[in-house]
């Protein structure tokens, strides 16, 4: 009898412990033990009586901890979860708000965010979302009540943000959702140094006594020459004419006036929104790309090569032309501490100037003013929204905050001379960790990138005014164009777009490869390709975007 009772008790104990271990705890602000019940999520936090304007430092008088779900550090040997980031320790000292990190590798971030919000478990106070380019997810989250609109708080507290909005009205416009709310804060990219370009190795050109190519056909000839000669003198025929991965090959389309802004694939001309992948410029461009494939200036695995392999080949001196690089690389490649320079000191990368394409001079496309690929949102479980907005205003938009984000810590990685920032070179640069794991942790929050700001960063490189790489970058400025940022559609429209887009993008990408590998004929099958796209629903999608674009233009008048 006793043994039996003991057995039953043991069994009960095992079952109970299994159940207890399985349940997760819900967390919100740890200070105030927020509970994550359904009621909390559906009601947005009641607006506190907003007493004062603006704020002063420190933001809070008693210590406050906010939980921040964000992308884990991508710099080797560092982790936000270790709490060793110096810049973040400074934030805490200045504002009194401690950030408790919940850092997730960027490849898992999207999934994690969606699962947490769907399950309403472990919802943090702030999230840095790796957004999709059309922002419709923000509308969805807002409608679902999991994130909140910040407009009132911004008006009352975010003095610095408002100043930036006044200076860059396009930024405000691009962050604003169709219903007028601002729910996510992303990068501001207003620098003339931030655009996409193609780069070529000047030293290889000189070795072969060739001129800088001025037309796409000349570019092809040069690339072919690179492939057929042993440029890196290693005895192997491993040179690659033009290198890239994914669908970066489309960047060559700049010479045709094609923008191919990531994600939307649209541009606007005279108030009309155009889908670039069905234009006659695109068709002509396809013919050129096919020539490149046939002439084997792309690597043999151009369809499936991945980012890392591509980078390895560039570092290994196998590549003569890169089809897509941020223009600023022209400058960073000159940095003797940069890995590119260290690997191959002879490599002299220059930006290829605007080429004469069949439709006129080529273009360069600037990065969008409001980059919403990383957006910070405030969730509705946050019990300290005013403080959070003040913190965001300080960290992202205040002058001090910007300096922390861009340059690091005063007197450690930069110093102030006559009111100007002068960079000091330090072991902590580029988020390299010291032996004990401390590191800067800067440049992970959305940042303000202006031309002046970038010039300060590059001043440390001490490039003379007639440095050829710098000149090749500045030569592009007359041809810079602003990218078209797709207007954020309303919720129902967004749903319809995402339903149709899955098929549209699949078909478009498939046909791209079929055209280039010869399985479809660029001349004969193009009209059919357009017809098919329209029957899948491209017409409907474009109408929605045209409507949203017109609304947005009218709203800002």
């Amino acid at each position: 009898m006793k043994r039996k009772i003991l057995c039953y008790l043991l069994l009960l104990g095992l079952l109970l412990s299994a159940v207890a271990c399985g349940s997760k705890s819900n967390t919100g602000s740890s200070e105030n033990g927020t509970e994550n019940t359904a009621a909390e999520i559906t009601q947005p936090a009641a607006t506190e009586s907003i007493a004062e304007d603006g704020y002063s430092l420190p933001i809070v008088s008693e210590p406050l901890t906010l939980i921040f779900l964000t992308r884990e550090s991508e710099d080797t040997g560092t982790s936000f979860n270790d709490n060793k980031a110096l810049v973040w320790q400074e934030y805490e000292k200045k504002t009194g708000i401690k950030i408790q990190f919940d850092a997730v590798p960027s490849s898992n971030l999207e999934e994690t965010v969606q699962l947490r919000l769907a399950a309403r478990q472990n919802v943090p106070d702030m999230i840095q979302i790796p957004g999709q380019q059309d922002g419709s997810y923000l509308t969805k989250y807002l409608q679902d009540g999991v994130i909140i609109a910040l407009n009132d708080y911004i008006d009352k507290y975010a003095i610095n943000m408002k100043k930036v909005f006044e200076q860059y009205p396009v930024y405000k416009q691009e962050l604003t959702l169709p219903d007028g709310s601002i729910a996510g804060i992303g990068d501001l990219r207003a620098s003339k140094y931030q655009f996409r370009s193609q780069m070529i190795r000047m030293d290889w050109l000189e070795k072969l006594n060739l001129k800088m190519p001025a037309t796409p056909d000349e570019l092809l000839k040069v690339a072919k020459a690179f492939v057929t000669n042993d440029m890196n003198e290693n005895g192997k025929a491993d040179e690659i004419g033009m290198a890239g991965y994914g669908d970066q090959w489309k960047e060559l389309g700049h010479a045709w006036g094609l923008h191919f802004v990531t994600g939307s694939g649209m541009t606007v001309k005279d108030g009309k929104v155009i889908y670039e992948s069905i234009t006659s410029q695109y068709q002509d461009f396809l013919r050129y790309l096919k020539k490149c494939v046939d002439e084997k200036v792309f690597p043999a695995d151009w369809i499936s090569v991945d980012k890392k392999t591509n980078l390895a080949r560039i570092a290994n001196s196998q590549v003569g032309i890169q089809v897509r690089t941020p223009a600023e690389y022209a400058l960073t490649y000159q940095d003797p501490n940069d890995s590119m320079k260290k690997n191959d000191p002879e490599a002299d990368w220059r930006i290829i100037p605007a080429m004469d394409g069949p439709y006129g001079k080529g273009i360069f496309v600037k990065e969008a003013v409001a980059e919403i690929w990383r957006t910070v949102v405030v969730t509705s479980v946050n019990k300290h929204i005013a403080e959070t907005v003040k913190w965001l205003d300080y960290v992202i938009f205040s002058e001090e905050g910007q300096r922390y984000n861009m340059y690091g810590i005063e007197d450690l990685t930069y110093k102030m001379e006559n009111g100007n920032v002068v960079k000091i070179s330090s072991e902590l640069d580029n988020n390299k960790p010291l032996k004990d794991g401390t590191w800067l942790g800067y440049q992970y929050m959305p940042g303000i990138y202006t031309t002046e700001g970038d010039e300060i960063s590059y001043a440390a490189l001490n490039l003379s005014d007639d440095n050829p790489a710098l000149l090749s970058l500045k030569a592009c400025w007359p041809y810079l164009e602003e990218p078209f940022v797709a207007p954020i559609p309303s919720l129902e429209d967004g749903k319809r777009i995402s339903e149709l887009n899955a098929d549209i993008i699949t078909y478009r990408d498939e046909m791209f490869y079929k055209f280039l590998t010869g399985k479809a004929d660029i001349d004969k099958d193009f009209a059919n390709y357009i017809k098919q796209l329209n029957s899948i629903g491209l017409n409907e999608v474009m109408d929605i975007y045209q409507k949203s674009y017109d609304n947005r233009s009218n709203a800002s008048k």
Binding site: Y137, K140, D144, A300, I303, S304, A502, D509
Partner: protein
């Protein structure tokens, strides 16, 4: 099981003696032993079935499952309306059927061959080594594939070049996809899958072999007439079970192997849904598609089971 109830007065107590309860009392520790597993399945498999409702609702995080509005078959229709619907079904089923067709003989053959080996030490070593690939992650297997088959510097193509052939772009050509997918799958799993067959082999009574030897059968004839019929029930059961997974072609391996150039053979239901739901947490759509897959799988298993019952006497239920 019929419950035979016998009510009787024993002494002053009125006891219900039923065969069922008595049996239960005798076996109660067995029942207690299985209780945790039953609870596990109830809690983790049956109760979550409530979530199937998400497929018929316009699910939103804030409203939860109960609060989200009903939309009926809207998401199923969205799936069927896609111009790629037939292609997705075709690709998914073809990959599965070919996997079964080509994947089943190898473990059986391996088990038979291993059975013939005399040296027990060798047998054990061979068996263990054959399991190793099963534990290698699919990510690594695809990584190896990409490296070995690279048209630029992969071993296979370098050899081909030396022998005078043109390098083949394996990962970018539609006609190689299924071969590579199924081939590596076979390499990875034949050792592991042969375990069940080897176990089944041991259950064949020795007298059958001895009497066949008396009748003058050689080893080959023994294999065909005794061994294979002997493990046939196992083969059939495993076959029916694998039919039940036909629509579940996992997305991981395909995702790692495919690219838009080979969507026409490589795009399966799970990868399409994955691409689609990147554009915004489409819980309802994903659930609807999963439910559709489950339904097809169940119908197939049901049919196969019925056929199997008629043709042989082996069936799952």
């Amino acid at each position: 099981m019929k419950v035979a109830e016998k009510k009787a007065w024993i002494g002053r107590r009125y006891i219900i003696q039923s065969k069922f309860i008595q049996k239960f009392r005798n076996e109660k520790f067995l029942h207690i032993l299985i209780l945790p597993t039953i609870i596990y399945f109830i809690v983790f498999s049956y109760i979550p079935m409530y979530g199937i409702l998400v497929a018929f609702k316009d699910f939103s995080f804030a409203k939860g499952i109960a609060g989200s509005p009903w939309v009926g078959f809207e998401y199923f229709e969205a799936f069927f309306r896609s111009m790629y619907f037939m292609r997705l079904i075709k690709n998914t089923m073809l990959i599965s059927f070919y996997s079964i067709l080509w994947g089943m003989p190898f473990p059986i053959l391996f088990a038979l061959l291993l059975n013939e080996v005399g040296n027990r030490q060798f047998k054990r070593v061979a068996q263990t080594v054959s399991y190793f690939p099963h534990f290698v992650s699919v990510v690594i297997v695809v990584g190896m594939m990409v490296t070995f088959l690279s048209p630029v510097d992969g071993i296979i193509n370098i050899l081909a070049l030396k022998l005078g052939f043109e390098p083949i772009n394996f990962m970018q050509e539609s006609k190689w996809f299924r071969t590579l997918y199924i081939g590596t799958g076979i390499w990875q799993d034949f050792g592991w899958n042969s375990i069940l067959y080897l176990a089944a082999l041991t259950s064949i009574p020795m007298e059958q072999y001895e009497s066949s030897k008396v009748d003058g059968a050689n080893r080959f004839q023994q294999a065909i007439h005794i061994t294979i019929p002997g493990i046939m029930p196992t083969i059939i059961i495993l076959f029916i079970l694998s039919i039940g997974k036909v629509m579940n072609v996992g997305s991981t391996k395909v995702l790692l192997m495919y690219s838009p150039a080979i969507y026409d053979v490589a795009d399966v239901i799970s990868t399409y849904v994955y691409r689609k739901s990147i554009l915004g947490g489409e819980m309802s759509f994903g659930t609807a598609v999963s439910l559709f897959n489950m339904a097809i799988n169940f119908i197939l298993v049901f049919i196969t089971n019925k056929i199997s019952k008629k043709v042989s006497e082996v069936s799952l239920w």
